[in-house]
């Protein structure tokens, strides 16, 4: 028996004043065990609902997705049957999918870079105390709280070449914008502008994540840096940036996940056009337009794997453990 007991419970004082182990009956032993096991169960009970939710709504469907991606599951061509890697092979031969791979890579590169570059200075600014700081944070979070479809519709009015905000401003200021077409004509410009809308949405969360990391940095470090003659820029490079790396890494990972799964903004702003269609849009078309769920599962799986791989790379490159 490995369990230790408190003096009053497990040990008796002998007549010589020494403590000797108390003789236990089997009933005593089980009571002790019950007393000991009750508090052990509590944490499991507390997290059980979340675990069940995650298993039921994420892991089990994810498992099904993995399995079904190796099957032909086509509502117009029943029954479902094992087809090995056929779904994956078909995807690689689908020009719409291969074109979307390139588009999605651009979304990820532009989105992650831009949201991080914008979020770091914004977080640094918000770290300093100023009047109305809470209000600014509340305003900042608004784009993140808006649904992507709403943002897409909102920005349609800005980018619309037939009298949108930008073309109207250009016209008022007598500036030439060529044909005035911002979306749909040039692939890189279209993707950059659409991703700008998503960056507007995801940057607030990045700011908050980095701000949380900045607030853990002790003020003494900045004082020490100042004593050593470091100016604001040197303090930022040598104190702020290295110590904010955990927050920056988490912010970049959320940006990677969001940009890999971009759907609403290109769907609303550019329709199904191959100039800017993303991989998740192709998943939608394959699954719910063509009803070829097997290929849809396979593409979902590929997106999930790619997201995980890039996220791991980002964490390995950017994340550094900080001990203060």
């Amino acid at each position: 028996m490995t369990a230790s007991a408190s003096p009053g419970q497990g040990r008796n004082r002998s007549t010589t004043g020494r403590f000797v182990p108390m003789q236990r009956t089997p009933d005593d032993a089980s009571q002790v065990a019950v007393r000991r096991r009750r508090p052990d169960l509590l944490p499991f009970l507390l997290i059980a609902p979340v675990v069940i939710f995650i298993i039921g709504l994420a892991l089990v469907p994810a498992g099904f997705t993995v399995i079904q991606s190796f099957f032909t599951v086509d509502e117009l061509d029943p029954p479902a049957r094992f087809s090995g890697l056929n779904n994956f092979v078909q995807l690689f031969h689908d020009p719409a999918v291969t074109s979307s791979v390139g588009n999605t890579v651009l979304y990820v590169v532009i989105g992650v870079t831009l949201s991080t570059v914008l979020a770091v200075p914004m977080a640094v600014l918000l770290q300093s105390a100023f009047r109305g700081r809470s209000f600014v944070i509340a305003i900042l979070i608004l784009p993140w709280a808006l649904p992507g479809v709403v943002e897409g519709i909102l920005w349609t009015g800005i980018f619309d070449s037939n009298g949108g905000l930008i073309s109207s401003l250009a016209s008022t200021l007598h500036l030439s914008t060529g044909t005035g077409v911002l979306l749909g004509q040039d692939r890189l410009l279209t993707i950059a502008l659409i991703e700008l809308v998503q960056v507007w949405q995801i940057t607030p969360l990045s700011v908050l994540l980095i701000l949380a990391a900045l607030q853990l940095i002790p003020g003494e470090l900045y004082e020490a840096a100042a004593i050593d003659g470091a100016g604001p820029w040197r303090s930022f490079r040598s104190v702020t940036l290295p110590l904010a790396r955990p927050g920056i890494a988490v912010a970049m990972v959320q940006a990677v996940i969001a940009t890999f799964n971009v759907f609403d903004q290109p769907f609303v702003l550019n329709g199904a056009a191959s100039t800017a269609a993303s991989l998740t849009m192709q998943t939608y078309y394959i699954s719910f337009q063509n009803l070829n769920f097997g290929q849809g599962y396979a593409l979902s799986l590929l997106i999930a794997v790619a997201t995980c791989v890039v996220s791991v790379v980002v964490v390995r490159v950017v994340y550094r453990k900080v001990e203060l």
Partner: protein, 447 residues
């Protein structure tokens, strides 16, 4: 023997059993629950049915009157069209209840007919008798079964801003494609309209239907009865239609920004604001509900329907109506059928269209699917250019004579993505036509 840290075989068995049960429960729930009955209740009174359509509900008083007369309460759910199609597919695939009555779009009739996701409506409605007064019912027939019943009469029409045409000196409205194209050039050259023509070139369904109507105007069809493409020859109607549309963009007849304009955006921001003079393939009813509405339009009473120009005379119009049907997993299919009978009746449609006063008028409603209802509206003067619409409706025909093919959504995707690409200049019209044809050949051959 029990130990404190170990487990007895009995408890291990229990734990395994529990885990197994939990696993089965989770797997079942993850599969979406395939235990829903495919034959719902026959109850038709004292029930609440869910009706899911991409529209705001009809007036509450009208629905309340239906409840009073039938004992059926209607729970109306407004879901945008794209989400609605996704939900219909997801629910039918998982064999779960989604709604008792929902949208059946003309373009998905072939697909839905083959899948058997909807209850055949001939079980509830005398389709042969209905067809005489509802000509567009044929658009909802697949393999001899009626998948849904049209609740409005949507068909493609040509709309013109008569004021702009007159200012450009065009007194006789064009009857042929040649005359129509000349009129467009005249509108531009006279400086009356910088960009006279609205073509919604966004890569969306509206671009496909525009091409079908234009192909029809050039005297042909897109696919034959077996689904083979009829537009690959440069002399074919489909090829000429695509070239005409793309050239209109390249020669400045269409606003450059239309690359990303959808059909509804074009109606609201271009035609209704007088920025363009005409839309070749517009929607029936739009003059009354949008262009003549002073709250949304700056050109009230200035637009009109034009019998769609053809090769040597005006051509017929293609229909793209909205229908309503009963999913196989409906809880109360018989009650839903009663609702559909009422909802698609000529009397209810007249009420929706405004013939019985504003309290029964449904603002989202465009045009009755019953010829008799349209005729009554036209006679009563309650419909903008009612007689013109009634005449066009009589001769309107389905886009695909044999019903939309099962693979229509994929084909349409190829149409609008490639025509969009041709309009942007990233591929030629010829390349776009070849790409669309390749998809059609592949799909129609079953590969």
């Amino acid at each position: 023997m029990r130990t404190i840290h170990g487990r007895s075989p009995a408890s291990t068995r229990s734990a395994r059993m529990l885990a197994a049960v939990a696993g089965v429960v989770l797997v079942t729930s993850a599969c979406g629950g395939s235990t829903a009955s495919s034959s719902g209740s026959g109850q038709t009174t004292g029930v609440t049915i869910t009706v899911a359509l991409a529209a705001d509900p009809p007036p509450a008083a009208v629905l309340a009157a239906f409840t009073q007369q039938s004992g059926i309460t209607v729970n109306w759910v407004n879901i945008d069209w794209d989400s609605l199609q996704t939900k219909i597919s997801a629910a039918a695939t998982a064999k779960t209840f989604f709604a008792d009555a929902t949208d059946v779009d003309w373009s998905r009739v072939g697909q839905l007919g083959k899948l058997g996701w909807f209850v055949p409506m001939e079980k509830y409605i005398d389709t042969a008798a209905t067809k005489a007064d509802v000509p567009q019912l044929s658009s909802f027939t697949s393999d001899g079964h009626v998948v849904g019943v049209p609740y409005d009469a949507s068909f493609m029409v040509t709309t013109v801003n008569e004021d702009l045409f007159t200012r450009a000196g065009i007194t006789a409205m064009p009857k042929t494609m040649t005359e129509y194209t000349s009129a467009l050039k005249q509108l531009k050259s006279k400086g009356v309209s910088q960009y006279p023509l609205n073509i919604p070139f966004a890569a969306a369904e509206g671009l496909s239907t525009y091409w079908y109507q234009t192909t029809n105007a050039f005297g042909g069809t897109v696919l034959d009865g077996t689904g083979k493409p009829q537009f690959t020859d440069p002399g074919s109607a489909g090829y000429q239609a695509a070239a005409w549309m793309v050239d209109a963009m390249k020669t400045g007849l269409v606003p450059p920004g239309n690359i990303n304009v959808t059909d509804s955006q074009g109606e609201q921001t271009l035609m209704a604001k007088g920025q363009v003079a005409t839309t070749f393939s517009d929607y029936s009813g739009v003059v009354g509900v949008l262009y003549n509405d002073k709250t949304q339009s700056s050109v009230p009473s200035k637009t009109q329907y034009l019998p769609t120009p053809g090769v040597d005379r005006p051509t017929v119009n293609l229909s793209n109506p909205d229908g309503i049907g009963i999913p196989k997993e409906a809880k109360y299919p018989d009650a839903a059928a009663k609702f559909i009978q009422w909802f698609t009746s000529a009397q209810t449609q007249q009420d929706f269209a405004g013939l019985s006063g504003p309290s029964k008028t449904w603002s989202a409603y465009t045009l009755p699917s019953h010829l008799s209802a349209v005729q009554k509206l036209a006679t009563a003067g309650g419909l903008a250019q009612g007689q013109v619409l009634a005449d066009l409706l009589k001769t309107s025909k389905p886009v695909f004579a044999g019903g939309a093919p099962t693979w229509y959504p994929k084909f349409s995707n190829a149409v609008y993505t490639n025509l969009h690409a041709a309009a942007t200049g990233s591929m030629s019209t010829d390349q776009a036509i070849k790409a669309i044809a390749a998809v059609a050949v592949s799909l129609s051959s079953g590969s």
